[in-house]
């Protein structure tokens, strides 16, 4: 699965409250949530983000509450992938479960700037910065996690598997 897009870069400890502020938790579709994505850290984001763009961030991305709305908002905004130095645990799970690919790669994060174009090969875990020409290798997502992401999340993935079992 090849992805490529323009980078939006953020710092450490981007929490779920800035990804999607609590005042919007009465919304639940990815499209509605997307309109307010990153609003409290970067008001320009929701209006300018293009399908396929990539968020690059520092340590502990997605810390805070366990709300599944946070990865849903990012996915709804069209972001194809998040690359961070590290992720908060429940965000990590929730992102995979709703089908948002995420990769941990500190070196790529340190050497990437906003506006760069990255291409990401999820199958091999390779990240290439088209501006610098540098390539980074991180652990690829394992087979079944790829399966979840490609199915669009844990629920559709599980439905497929359950059907396969009954066949």
């Amino acid at each position: 699965m090849m992805l490529s897009g323009t980078v939006w870069k953020y710092g450490d400890n981007v929490d779920t409250d800035v990804i999607i502020p609590a005042r919007y938790l009465n919304l639940s579709t990815p499209e509605e949530l997307a309109k307010h994505c990153m609003e409290d850290i970067d008001p320009t984001f929701a209006g300018a983000v293009q399908a396929g763009d990539i968020i690059v961030a520092g340590d502990n991305f997605g810390c805070g509450s366990s709300r599944e709305h946070a990865p849903l908002a990012i996915k709804g905004a069209g972001v194809s992938c998040v690359v961070a130095r590290s992720f908060a645990r429940i965000f990590y799970r929730n992102a995979i479960n709703i089908g948002l690919p995420i990769l941990e790669c500190p070196q790529a994060v340190d050497e990437t700037e906003s506006g760069d174009r990255l291409s990401v090969d999820l199958r091999t875990g390779t990240i290439t910065n088209e501006r610098t020409g540098r390539t980074y290798h991180t652990s690829p997502l394992p087979e079944f996690i790829m399966g979840i992401v490609q199915s669009g999340g844990l629920i559709p993935y599980t439905i497929k598997r359950l059907q396969g079992r009954n066949r």
Binding site: N60, C63, S66, E68, A88, R89, I90, Y92, R93, N94, I96, N97, I98, S139, L141, P142, F144, I145, I148, G153, L154, I155, T158, I159, R161, L162
Partner: protein
């Protein structure tokens, strides 16, 4: 190279296993038990329905407990419970616990023998980590995760690194599991064990009761931990004997296991601890608290609502009176704890002292009901979180402590060491 407790339990639950696992590996596992409560189950059930399955993977391995807003505090919570109750009936779940039989889930499940050593348990509640006291790998997850685990009996995990904490030295009087874990969180911080399993070990915890161990494992999440584990020993075996009715497996960490960090703590120097608002890491020894007047004292919750906790509180309240400015609320963790406390005369002691005793419920712990704080009010509480507004108004304050300090504070009207009485 050897393995930690968490690695060994996960390795034996692999779908394509058993095989060796290492920290960072993403793996698929079988689960032994799936848990949800009256506030997390409704969301999980919605996702479950999307799966289009007609049954859970094994009705005996899905546990639903109505403990947060029960006995129902309002219409909305009554409707949530009704939904969960209906689901439990329709799917024929034998382990659905309702008012009159229920208790706070993390006190109830071990007491009922539903969790065994060596189990892998997932729950839609962050304090699912409590069962690590039994030598099980237990962790909290989101609603989608739990829906799928209910349907398939499987989940995926990232194998955590482990931080091992070794306690040595004799405990001072009135110091228990709560003080050890508060002290530890104060040392490593609320993200000191992020992504990690915490392994509690050493001569001091070897002598700790099961109730004290549950208290410690319960708060692993307050250090960011994914699980908090104790190895199985005589104390564990004595506890599960007669409760757990199925075969189980005991695990020990290998002597050459690889840890992210090993911390040694001289427990003999630890005083009773108090965590100041608004984070569990803001801990101080009780001697350095200063003058903190309180309006309410809460003794209960999945952290300290067990019989041993109530015995400690009763030992302090016996023959004394709760301070006239304080509301003291005591909540036994389960019906069984309540009954045992009643038979031992503890309930009588509490009522004679001027405390309110409630049927089991989470209640005030999460600011649900049964003791909400007004603006400017302060509570000392044996619960596990003192986030802003956790027990009521955003301008109220919660100080976390063990049952001894909470009971002594209730009598003196300010946060106090039991020796001050």
């Amino acid at each position: 190279m050897g393995h930690t407790l968490a690695e060994k339990i996960i390795a034996d639950h692999l779908l394509n296993g058993p095989a060796e696992v290492w920290p960072g590996d993403l793996v698929e596992v079988h689960v032994d038990l799936v848990l949800a409560n009256d506030i997390t189950a409704p969301i999980a059930l919605r996702e479950f329905e999307k799966l289009g399955v007609q049954r859970v993977f094994d009705p005996a391995k899905v546990v639903l407990v109505a403990d947060h807003f029960t006995p129902n505090k309002d219409i909305k919570s009554a409707e949530q419970c009704a939904q969960v109750r209906r689901f439990a009936r329709e799917l024929g779940l034998p382990h659905y616990f309702d008012v009159g039989r229920m208790g706070i889930e993390h006190v109830l499940l071990p007491e009922q023998g539903l969790v065994a050593p060596g189990d892998l348990v997932v729950g839609a509640d962050s304090h699912t980590c409590t069962y690590g006291a039994l030598g099980a790998f237990a962790t909290g997850m989101g609603s989608t995760d739990i829906a799928v685990a209910m349907a398939t009996g499987q989940t995926w995990l990232r194998v955590p690194e482990t931080i091992r904490i070794v306690y040595y030295g004799q405990l001072q009087p009135w110091v228990g599991g709560k003080d050890l874990i508060l002290y530890t969180i104060g040392k490593i911080g609320v993200d000191g064990a992020r992504y990690m399993a915490m392994e509690f070990a050493g001569p001091t915890v070897d002598t700790l009761s099961m109730d004290g161990r549950f208290t410690m494992a319960n708060m692993a999440i307050e250090a960011g931990g994914k699980a908090g584990l104790f190895a199985c020993d005589e104390t564990t075996r004595a506890y599960v004997h007669g409760r757990v009715k199925r075969p189980f497996r005991e695990y020990q960490a290998d002597p050459d296991a690889r840890y992210a960090r090993v911390l040694e703590i001289d427990a003999s120097t630890i005083e009773p601890q108090v965590a100041f608002p608004h984070l569990p890491e803001n801990t101080r020894p009780v001697s350095q608290v200063g003058e903190v007047r309180i309006d309410q004292a809460v003794i209960g919750s999945c952290t300290n609502g067990r019989l041993e906790d109530l015995r400690i509180a009763a030992a302090i309240l016996r023959g004394r009176r709760v301070h006239p400015d304080v509301r003291c609320i005591i909540i036994p963790g389960t019906q069984q704890v309540y009954l045992d406390a009643l038979r031992e005369g503890l309930i009588e002691t509490f009522i004679e002292a001027g405390a309110a005793v409630s049927t089991p419920t989470c209640g005030p712990c999460l600011g649900g009901h049964m003791g909400i704080l007004a603006a400017g009010e302060r509570a000392v509480s044996t619960t596990n979180r003192n986030f802003r507004g956790r027990m009521g108004h955003v301008d109220s304050e919660v100080y976390l402590a063990g049952p001894a300090v909470a009971a002594a504070s209730a009598v003196l009207g300010r946060i106090a060491h039991p020796d001050e009485l």
